[in-house]
Subunit: 94 residues, 2 copies
Amino acid sequence: MDSTGGKTVEHDVTMRGRKVIEITGVKQVESFDSEEFLLETVMGFLSIRGQNLQMKNLDVDKGVVSIKGKVYDLVYVDEHGGDKAKGLFSKLFK
Amino acid sequence: MDSTGGKTVEHDVTMRGRKVIEITGVKQVESFDSEEFLLETVMGFLSIRGQNLQMKNLDVDKGVVSIKGKVYDLVYVDEHGGDKAKGLFSKLFK
């Protein structure tokens, strides 16, 4: 995550017109397919679900991922986020 | 972006550090409390859930809403989005 030499990497999400998402502060792409991306960011795991999702750009050194497609939801999956996030996660993926 | 002259309003979402969200293309704030905002945007209803959410700025003329707080998830709730979005919605709020 420390790709710039000691500075904390910021985690920003920019979505334009619900069809292009750019995410910074990405540590790793855990998995992806046309319906779901699972990213490890500096602020927790982030699941992005949608339709016809495509990886547009990936630069792990910079921690930047760009995704194209119709977005349904973005969900943070916190291990330390308490029961609420866990409950939501289990509801979404059961 | 041009909310005054008949052009299509753009809908962008910008989240910084998972604690500030700015949304454009907002037609209406349906409801909000510290755990959930429900917004009507030009691209569908958008539910934002989190912790300690606060309305930072609201400008209905410009269609801009800023929200502060720890974000758990952003979910589009489409009426025309097909079964998938509806299924997700019913799962989330049952």
